[in-house]
Structure formats: C-alpha cells, structure tokens
Symmetry: C2
DNA sequence: TTAATATTCAACCAATAAGTTGAATTACTA
DNA sequence: TAGTAATTCAACTTATTGGTTGAATATTAA
C-alpha cells in the first residue's frame, strides 16, 4: 500500500512547475500545506492535490501534528530518476565512442592506399 | 519555432514507459518509425504520436530520407533534467549538513562544562 | 502507370489531469 | 461550548493524453 517507487509516477510528478517549486521549498525543510500553498495563485485545494501527486510518487512524506500536516522531502525517487537518465547518457556516449573508433579504423584503411570507395563521378 | 528546451515537456515525455523504451533504442543509433514501432503491441500511429511527443521535448530529431524518417537521440534535454534534479539533492544534503552541524553545536553546549550560551532553562 | 511502402493527418473515444467551489472533518482557542 | 483554523472529500468543468481506425500523401519498385 506504500505506493512503491515507480519511474512513471516520479517523472510525471516532476513534470509540473508548481510541484517542482513545492519540492524545492521542501528541500529546505518541513512545511505545512498552508505554508506550501501561500506563494501560489491557486486555491489551497489545488495545492493539496499537487501534494497528493507528490506523495503518490513518494517524493514527499506526511506527518500529522494535531490539525497540521507536516510535509517533508524524500530524495529517494530522485536517485532512481537520475540513475535512469544517466544510463541513457552512458549508452549514448558509449555508442559515440564506438562510432569514433570505427571511423578511425576506416581512416587507417582509407588514407594510405587510394581509390577504395566513393560514388566516383 | 524550434520548440525550445523546456523542463516540463522533457519530464512529461520521459514519464511514459513506451517513450523511454523508444529513447533507449535510439540511444543505440538512428532508426525509422517502423523500426521503433516493431517491438510494441500498439498501432504504428500510436508510436508515431509518441515520437512526436519526444520531438516536442527535443529528445529526438528527425531527418527525412525519401519516404523514410530517420529518428535520432538528442541528449541535451536530459542534461537539463539532471541539472535540476541534482540541484534539489544538493539543497537537501546542504540542509542536512547544516542540521548536523547544529546538532553537534548543541551537543557541545549540552554535555561538557555548559554555560556558554543558549536559552538556559 | 500501377501497386506497395512509409508515414502523417483527422476524427473519434475513454481515462486522467488540473483547476474550481462548497461542504465535511478534526483539532485548537476564547 | 462556540467559533475558527487546517485540511480533506466530493462533485463538477475543461483540457490533455494515449489509444483507435480510416483516409491522405509521398516515395519507391514492378
């Protein structure tokens, strides 16, 4: 029931400027729903909904203290997101490396002797 | 008109497993729309739409060669995304560092000789 | 020229997202 | 106890998403 870590939810949660601003605020420390809502031009309810999205993505945790709900930042899903993105970049640069090696190999073949390739004419 | 780099679009584009799979494939090299669609259980049209979303996010580029459209991976928006995420983590750990320092300072006051500062009582 | 291939465009549908307003719940405070 | 504060719940609206099918547009091949 703990709405386990899920890249789809994490990235979707991050894909909204309001939610990113909320997270940014929370990465400086705990805050109440009302505090989080204050900077925004939307209703408290709207912010409450955004918070719920962040919770579903496990990016924020909630602790109740009387009538106040104290939200806090959880970095764990961010780690997962970065891991995925970095893996893509790694693949990409690996491929560029391989391509580069290939081109160099072609050079070694193409330059010394002549006339080996080309559409000629 | 080049649909400039935008974190919202980037993260929203990444928040879908089909699109991530497409990107993963493209990070190994160029491919046609049909090639990209082949592994999926959905229509070609659906994949075509996913590609359009990735293009809007500048995560893929398109080059036409006759009737074929050759798609390729562009890492730049990923860099931006990682930059944002890392910034949050940095804030977070900075705050934890500060909190830690604070707690240590309190320790120094509370345990040994006492009486150097603090709200006393 | 005709047929097949690669791709998009257009219209549609169901589900979800993002916001609203108003009412309900729960916990403090005077 | 009565009122107010902090928050969610419920219902509703509008826009977007992710998928479908069928037709249109180019380009290549027979």
């Amino acid at each position: 029931m703990t709405a386990q870590l899920n890249l789809d939810d994490t990235l979707a949660a991050l894909a909204d400027p309001t939610r990113r601003a909320i997270l940014q605020r929370l990465s400086e420390g705990e805050a109440r729903v009302t505090d989080l809502a204050q900077p925004f031009a939307m209703s408290l309810n709207a912010v409450s909904k955004h918070i719920r999205v962040l919770e579903r993505a496990c990016l924020v945790r909630r602790r109740r203290a009387g009538r106040e709900h104290l939200l806090s930042f959880n970095h764990q899903p961010l780690d997962e997101a970065v891991t995925w993105i970095e893996a893509q970049r790694a693949l990409w640069t690996a491929r560029l490396g391989a391509l580069d090696a290939l081109l160099q190999a072609e050079d070694r073949v193409a330059s010394p002797s002549a006339e080996t390739k080309g559409p000629a004419r």
